[in-house]
């Protein structure tokens, strides 16, 4: 297996963007190519992730991106795996580099939905659930995670204030990220007093709907060394699945696909959760970050809330979680999120994270899932 590296990254700001879906995808891709210090013609394939291109009148984004990079002859794959599309796309690219099919590829994730409004997004996002049992019966994604939150409160020693702490922490981090969508300091009271979306989750427990695009150049180690720029190693890659419907899961307070993906990624990297210096995890809702940090093995089941109370997951804590601000503050352009997490890890491990730098970090982890974790990918990166 070839060793795989991230050679360069690019990203638009996350938030409400004016440019079209293809324009922002191209902007992020050009940024990644320039950051990598390569020519576009050195890219052998493109992996382009997106969910709701239909909302901005452009699906089959792969060839559109490649054509505007002057490499219309190169193959591309347009990938949808709900909110996990970006990491699934990254994984396919990783597998193809590792297998020796390509030396260098482009991975771009993009989403453009804010112009559609809350009702459209709430409705269309619900199509990512197991629709027969969930979306059809009137539950939204906030509602599905709210159901997990209620199960968590019922099973463990946790309160709604504990969930609020996750939002406050991620907003503190996002304030230090110039590309974040919601750059605003908030308090526990702000969260507790915000409108209920799906009880027990309130508006400030939820990540925003965002527009945005992120891109990375992935290559083998030989290609990275020849080009001489800053690169980081991808030392672990794992994927897993969970029952699509919450009702079919053994436990309602754990996401099996995270366990499976993490175990596989840790094994490939030859490390354990204890060796990870920081992580970008899928905090689509505050409860999700708590469950993620337990499922990834950073804390015991039911102890994720205590870790947040004790500031262990803050920027200067034992294991900083979501230094970028996470989906909660940085934003969640669903097709881009998984790629954007890799951009953050690259920036952290190459000294480009500015004020939000995690001190002395050598190993970073990304965790991104689709829907309520029906599909999941975990990747582990190491500073060179």
């Amino acid at each position: 297996m070839e060793k795989v590296c991230v050679l360069g990254v690019g990203s638009t700001k996350y938030g409400k963007l004016e440019d079209s879906i293809s324009d922002i995808a191209i902007q992020a891709s050009v940024g990644a190519i320039e950051s990598a210090g390569i020519e576009s013609k050195e890219i052998e394939a493109g992996y382009i992730s997106n969910v709701f291109g239909v909302a901005d009148k452009q699906v089959h984004l792969g060839p559109v991106v490649m054509s505007n990079l002057g490499i219309s002859d190169k193959p591309s794959l347009s990938i949808e795996s709900a909110c996990g599309s970006g990491s699934v796309s990254f994984r396919e690219a990783f597998a193809n580099i590792a297998a020796g099919f390509y030396d260098a590829v482009l991975v771009t994730g993009v989403e453009k939905v804010t112009h559609t409004g809350t009702e459209w997004t709430t409705t269309y996002f619900s199509y990512c659930s197991d629709f027969f049992y969930e979306g059809q019966a009137g539950v939204s994604f906030p509602g599905l995670f709210a159901s997990m939150a209620r199960a968590y409160i019922n099973e463990f020693n946790a309160t709604e204030e504990d969930f609020a702490r996750v939002a406050v922490k991620n907003h503190d981090n996002g304030l230090l990220n110039p590309k974040a969508h919601l750059r605003k300091k908030i308090t526990i009271d702000d969260v507790m007093n915000s409108d209920i979306v799906a009880s027990p989750l309130k508006l400030y427990d939820c990540c925003p709907f965002s527009d945005g695009a992120s891109a990375v150049i992935l290559c083998n180690q030989r290609f990275a060394k020849e080009h001489g720029g800053n690169y980081i190693d991808v030392i672990g890659s794992g994927r897993g699945g969970s029952p699509a419907a919450l009702q079919a899961r053994e436990h309602l307070t754990t996401i099996p696909s995270t366990n499976i993906a993490a175990a596989s990624a840790y094994k490939m990297a030859g490390i354990t959760a204890k060796d990870v210096d920081f992580a970008e995890v899928h905090d689509c809702f505050t409860i999700a970050e708590i469950i993620d940090t337990e499922d990834l093995g950073f804390f015991e089941k039911g102890k994720g809330v205590e870790a947040v109370r004790d500031d262990q997951t803050s920027l200067n804590g034992k294991i900083p979680i979501n230094p970028s601000g996470g989906l909660k503050s940085k934003g969640h352009p669903i097709g881009a999120t998984g790629v954007g997490q890799v951009v953050e890890v690259y920036d952290q491990l190459t000294g480009n994270a500015g004020e939000r730098t995690v001190k002395n970090a050598k190993i970073g982890l990304t965790h991104n899932f689709g829907a309520t974790g029906a599909s999941c990918a975990v990747h582990i990166f190491q500073r060179v």
Binding site: F132, Q136, G138, G143, S147, S199
Partner: protein, 120 residues
């Protein structure tokens, strides 16, 4: 095909399930291979659509088509006497006091809102 049979039973307040002949694992009828042992031979089992609330949410920002029902609950129900759950739409729930975890609920029908639950 199996889904149509499932819906017909739900309309009668029943749950059509299947038990693996090889290992005994119980699934909803919409599963075609045993999750536990992988075999494809099952006996149909008709369950009473009764159980208790394992978790739920009260929806106040609903998707399209559900505005007129809000607030309402979406419930994950643990089916009585078996290790199986089902979820569905439960109208007229406005606050958590209306639906403590453990509340008895049952299937009252199936329509364009999927499985409909009620408090007996």
């Amino acid at each position: 095909m199996e889904k149509q049979k499932f819906i017909a039973h739900a309309k009668e307040g029943k749950i059509l399930a299947r038990k693996c002949i090889n290992c005994g694992n119980l699934h909803l009828v919409t599963v075609y291979f045993c999750e536990k042992c992988g075999k494809k031979a099952f006996d149909d089992v008709i369950l009473d659509g009764q159980g208790s609330v394992e978790t739920y949410t009260i929806m106040t920002v609903p998707p399209t088509g559900f505005e007129k029902y809000a607030p309402y609950a979406w419930v994950v129900m643990s089916i009585d006497n078996v290790d199986l759950r089902i979820s569905g739409f439960l109208p007229n729930i406005a606050k958590p006091e209306d639906l403590p975890i453990g509340t008895k609920v049952k299937i009252s029908g199936f329509d364009n809102r999927g499985i409909i639950l009620e408090k007996p």
